[in-house]
Amino acid sequence: MKRLMKNTIACAVSAAASMTAFTAFADTEITVATVNNGHMIEMQKLTPAFEEANPGIKVKWVTLEENVLRQNVTQDIANKSGLYDVMTIGMYEAPIWGQRGWLQAVNTSGDYDANDILPSIRDGLSYDGTMYAAPFYGESSMVMYRKDLVKEAGMEINDRDSWEHIRDVAAAVNDPSKGIYGICLRGKAGWGDNMALVTTIANSFGARWFDEEWKPQLESAEWTNAVNFYVDLLSKYGPPGSSSNSFNESLALFNEGKCGMWIDATIAASFVTDPKQSKVADQVGFAQSPISVTEKGANWLWAWSLGIPAATKNADAAQKFVRWATSKEYIELVGETNGWAAVPTGTRASTYANPKFQEAAVFAEAELKAINSANPNDSTLKPSPYVGVQFAAIPEFQAIGTTTGQMISGSLAGSMTVEEALKSANKSADRQMRRARYY
């Protein structure tokens, strides 16, 4: 009996010891929420390299559709639910959430080399000088055009052409009978869809979302001229059903050889020049976004970035992961593993200085020029109180931008005039701003 007792106690002690040992070396599991973009998927595939370098940290991935991601991460961070340890956010959310204390500052100390991050991108992700999200890939907007069609039409496209010249090229190239449309642009309603492009057009026409007293300016002559120009251009020389086209629809049309020009995110350059995806890969030229009365805010600035919610219980592991995924070493790893044309761009100066990248990416120079020329702190001709090129970084903007996008998409579809659309959007924006007690 004594022996049995002894054995039982010994077993219990050894079990407890092994449990303690297990707890001490238990894995820290971090959950990363992201969108289904090519670069993010590559990061997912390369995660074993991070886990190998950081034994004891396991990474779980949650990939969501963009709107669902926005809804879920906002819910998670605002309610301090702690579902996610790292979340993919954009340039719109980072400063707002950072200001509210919802995000942890990114640890940029040591060998992270934060000074290598492109200044405009770093500024856009910071609040009060502190970076609240680390850029994974960044983008601006630029003109992508068919060199063969433009040449055939006897026209030319250069950096910073006027919008009027772009309209003339679109008219010359447009040939619907052959299934070729002069220009493809976003028309689908949404603050991140049509309004991203329309805001850059409006900026270049001298418009601004709000005056210095935060009063909406959508009924101004500048906005009216810009939106009238956009609607007229796309109605005459755009593909049918443009009011429901966004990035992917335009990408499909361009890759099919149906667009003479496409003005959209610089990230598209890697898709339209990839022969596996594009029928016109060898015929694509690039130019800086067109302008009207000013260059200010004529091309947008965005960065898909990794942020760490303040409520995470695995802050150290999350910081390690974010530093790894947004480091120079990660870009090097992607370049060596998948080829230099596939690296996440728009974040670090060292990427553009790399000869291997310069050789692999024909769009590198145009992309860097576009990103460097965008300044979220000075994007309008007249003074404005907000930060952001294609958005105003205030919480109310999502609703205001989307409502305005719906009105403009409606006028593109022919359901109302531009003047009616802007009047209605301005009224709605005014209501929102009053409710939020801006004035």
């Binding site: 959950t31 289904n36 973009n37 090519g38 879920n72 992917n248 499909a252």
Partner: protein, 276 residues
């Protein structure tokens, strides 16, 4: 035209109409299926191509990127679990309302149905907060409870419609033989209603299997069902239709096969009147 010819023509027209409707309903599934064998470029080509060299790349990509079995198990547990729970609650509820109706039975039934008229997003915040406070976020338990509550009105209504058509004399006869209310349910009503219960259960399983709003909102990775897996293939920047179609085909396959095997019960149940 003879009477026989008229009858044949009528049958032909009815058949043609039924086939047309069936093909229209089936077309999106067919298109999803063939798109899953295309390349991304073929998937977006205009005009769409019907003849192409099929590829299994999309399926291997889905297998590589997603833990299909994990998501499928979550779908099975949540849809079957919530259906069983809903039936456990609904059978006695429908029985009592059908065989011992009170003054307010109709009102109760209408009230139950009215809960289906509330848009789900209307209760999103309170349900999310409850789940957070009880540690139920990203858990299958939360989904089972929500799915049960979501389908309970439909399950009660379907069973009630069937039970109320059962002849009361059968129950009276059972009572004469000394059956307790429990015996009446278990030994009389349930055996008579297996068809209706099966079809109600099938409908509930299908509804749970396809549910995406709560699945996407309340789960992250551990409890994410197949609908969450499909959603992960939609991309804001990049072509995704072929891979999305492959993921959707894989997600639909189990429930389509299951429905195929159970179609007799399903049709019988959906067209039930009680005693035939």
């Amino acid at each position: 035209m003879t009477l026989n010819q008229q009858r044949k023509l009528k049958t032909f027209i009815t058949g043609l109409f039924a086939w047309t409707i069936a093909l229209i309903l089936f077309f999106p599934i067919f298109w999803m299926f063939i798109t899953s064998f295309k390349t991304e470029l073929q998937a977006i080509s205009i005009p769409p191509s019907l003849f192409f060299e099929p590829t299994l790349d999309n399926y291997s990509e889905v297998q590589e990127r997603s833990d299909y079995v994990h998501h499928a198990i979550n779908s099975i547990i949540t849809s079957f679990g919530s259906t069983i729970l809903a039936l456990i609650i609904a059978v006695p509820a429908a029985f009592s309302m059908a065989f011992a109706p009170g003054k307010r039975t109709k009102d109760v039934l209408l009230w139950m149905l009215s809960t289906k008229m509330l848009p789900a997003v209307g209760v999103l915040v309170p349900i999310y907060m409850i789940c957070r406070d009880y540690g139920l976020l990203d858990s299958k338990t939360a989904l089972v409870i929500i799915f049960t509550l979501m389908n309970l009105p439909i399950v009660v209504w379907m069973l009630f419609s069937y039970f109320k058509d059962l002849p009361k004399e059968i129950l009276e006869a059972a009572r004469m033989d000394g059956a307790t209310p429990w015996d009446e349910v278990v030994k009389v009503v349930l055996p008579l209603s297996m068809g209706a219960i099966s079809s109600t259960a099938l409908l509930s399983i299908v509804l749970c299997w396809n549910e995406s709003f709560w699945s996407l909102t309340l789960t992250a990775s551990d409890a994410a069902p197949l609908t969450a897996m499909i959603a992960s293939y939609s991309s804001p920047e990049g072509l995704f239709w072929a891979k999305l179609s492959a993921a959707s085909t894989l997600a639909c396959a189990p429930i389509v096969v299951f429905g195929w095997f159970c179609q007799k019960q399903l049709v019988q149940g959906l067209t039930f009147g009680a005693v035939k």
